[in-house]
């Protein structure tokens, strides 16, 4: 799984995340809070491939998500590229896909990126409306970030186990 092949895997993962996140969002919803599956893919790519591809990937996958989800065009493209940009600061040159996802750093970076991502989205979301930003962010932004981070534990445990078996 090298070169274009690796990007192909991330692209398929992103498409799956968009499809599942769109058609099954109600099943994943807990008290109206939904996780951001696409963010998990973007953070994994950023830790594995670096900041530049993560920004591009975040932008284009976010744009696709905007189209599919009927959200305001450009809003998810912006927040996803911000997430890729932030996550890219934690990239290490020797990273492999397993070492990226199988490290506790993946969970921590996911939480950080989800918090930043949701903060920017909340700002965009509440700005034109009469919705209190702080209250909205505490309820939806932080809760959704924690939910997304909890889901990040699944690929983390899987990849760390794979790593152990490989050693």
């Amino acid at each position: 799984m090298r070169g274009i092949g690796e990007y192909g895997v991330y692209t398929i993962a992103a498409l799956l995340a968009i499809i599942v996140g769109t058609i099954a969002s109600n099943l994943l919803s807990v008290g109206g809070i939904t996780p951001d599956l696409l963010l998990l893919v973007i953070v994994a790519l950023a830790l594995h491939k670096g900041q530049f591809p993560a920004i591009l990937f975040g932008f284009f996958s976010g744009l696709l998500f905007d189209i599919v989800s009927t959200d305001v065009l450009g809003s998810n493209a912006l927040v996803k590229l911000v997430a890729g940009y932030v996550a890219g600061f934690f990239w290490r040159e020797e990273a492999t896909i397993r070492s990226s996802i199988g490290s506790t750093r993946y969970v921590g970076v996911t939480l950080l990126c989800a918090l930043v991502h949701n903060a920017v989205y909340s700002l965009l979301y509440t700005r034109p409306a009469d919705i209190p930003l702080g209250e909205f962010y505490v309820k939806n932004g932080i809760a959704a970030a924690l939910y997304t981070t909890a889901l990040a534990l699944l690929p983390f445990f899987y990849a760390s186990r794979q790593q152990e078996e490989a050693l």
């Binding site: 058609i23 939904t34 932008f59 744009l63 009927t70 959200d71 305001v72 493209a77 940009y85 009469d130």
Partner: protein, 284 residues
């Protein structure tokens, strides 16, 4: 030139992030996905099919809540039926006396909710009826409890409905008891807010809020919710009125689409005026 190329290569991550952010912001100011036309109908069709395919998967927590809610509604409906029977007889007598013709009833199309889409609490529902069933964007969607929202897009067999729990939705509404006019908007959480009701008026907790005849997007007198709390806003001359929606959006399964669109002439004229004002403000 060499130094410029070196600079770009060195800071390419930051430069591309800024450029793409500008593009994203430009797209946001350009408009929403409704402007994608036929491509969007394709997406709605695809989404509808996919959501219909997974609609059979039960959500036990939601089912339990729904059962409780249905029992409650059943009790309330029983009481209402008794009252309505009496009112119906009285109404019949009065109509005969006044020789009034029956009001023209709307034509409704029953539809099942095959998908509920939540994007950070912005809610849409997907219906299993589309343009082949006569459903068009702009049509109002209701239940026996009240207003759900309006259709924003259709494909041949599916329609997407924007519910009241959406940042972009404003509904011209009024208090049924006093006929006082205001604007309904989502509070970002579980309630709606009724704006623009002056403190000089009397508003009671429990008052019914219905759609107003001033609305260009919704038919009048559709129930929206009941007043939950009334707090004078110290920073303005209006109340802060919280409204509990009558429709429980999380538990929607069956809805009715009113097969008429509100008259568009007034809306077109108002939009043209708004556009003219925007141009004057922005100087474009």
């Amino acid at each position: 030139m060499q130094r410029f190329i070196e600079f770009v290569l060195r800071y390419r991550e930051h430069i591309i992030a800024v450029l793409l952010s500008i593009i994203a912001l430009a797209l946001m100011s350009y408009g929403d996905v409704t402007q994608l036309g036929g491509f969007r109908a394709l997406i709605i069709g695809g989404l509808g099919l996919a959501q219909e395919a997974v609609a059979w998967i039960p959500n036990p927590i939601a089912l339990q809540r729904e059962n409780q809610a249905l029992r409650q509604i059943n009790m309330e409906l029983l009481q209402e039926v008794m009252v309505l029977r009496k009112a119906g007889i009285e109404n019949e007598q009065l109509r005969r006396m006044l020789a009034l013709r029956q009001n023209a009833m709307f034509t409704y199309r029953a539809a099942s909710v095959v998908g509920k889409t939540t994007f950070r609490t912005r809610q849409y529902i997907t219906l299993d009826r589309g343009s082949n069933d006569g459903i068009k964007p702009g049509m109002n969607v209701v239940t026996d409890a009240g207003l759900v929202g309006s259709v924003i897009g259709t494909s041949g067999h599916f329609a997407i409905v924007q519910t009241l729990f959406n940042r972009d939705v404003r509904v011209s509404a009024r208090l049924a008891s006093t006929r006082e006019e205001g604007i309904i908007a989502w509070d970002g959480f579980e309630y709606l807010l009724l704006h623009n009701i002056p403190k000089t008026h009397t508003v009671q907790v429990g008052d019914l809020v219905v759609t107003s005849s001033l609305s260009t997007r919704y038919f009048p007198d559709i129930p929206i919710g009941t007043v939950e709390s009334v707090v004078p806003d110290p920073s303005s001359m209006f109340y802060r009125i919280t409204v509990r929606p009558r429709v429980e959006f999380w538990r929607l399964e069956q809805v009715f689409v009113i097969l008429h669109t509100p008259p568009t002439e007034q809306l077109t004229l108002e939009n043209a005026l708004q556009e003219f004002i925007n141009h004057r403000i922005t100087g474009r």
